[in-house]
Amino acid sequence: MKRLSMVQLLNSKVFLLSSVLQIGDSREITARSNVLAVQRQYELFYGGEGEVGFPVLTKPIPKLDVPASVRTYRLNESPVLSVRSVYLIAASTASVVHIGSTSTISGETRIKHIRQLADSIAPTPKTAIRITKDG
């Protein structure tokens, strides 16, 4: 038997990019996120970028198996998990905030970061928008 989760107060600000706030029990959670983060010194975007798979986004990640030979016994002397309050600012990128019990959780995230800086000799490329500071 799973325990009862009791939270008196939850204060959270933002849930973004496929994040979930689950209040109550669930059975299976599968969270996946693939991120290609490109930072350029200038505001430039050529259409159709990043459509070819990067190895970090495609390579299979080996999964750790739970050996069937281990027999787990849980003795819940207290049937409740009590929390007075939770203050959470943000949940992002397929993350889960779960108040309640579950059975199987499977999560996988893949992030590829690329930063492009200008060559100091090269002239500044033409950008669509230019923001200048007053004065």
């Binding site: 989760s5 969270a31 007075r84 600012i89 992002s92 779960h98 499977s106 999560g107 996988e108 690329i114």
Partner: protein, 60 residues
């Protein structure tokens, strides 16, 4: 192999969290199996200094 867990009373006060991200889980409750994996790639060659060329254009 037998593995016995005795869960006695748990009473938590206040939890302060900034962020939960990248397929991670913040769980108040029980779970049987948790399997989380993460791959993060920022190699030196991720930092490109030079001409602003498109990365891996379509069809290459």
């Amino acid at each position: 192999m037998n593995y016995t867990v005795v869960n006695r009373e748990i009473q938590i006060g206040d939890i302060y969290l900034t962020a939960v991200t990248s397929s991670s889980i913040f769980l108040i409750g029980d779970a049987d199996i948790i399997n989380l994996a993460s791959a993060f790639d920022t190699p030196p060659e991720s930092l490109i200094i030079g001409p602003f060329v498109p990365l891996t254009p379509k069809g290459s």
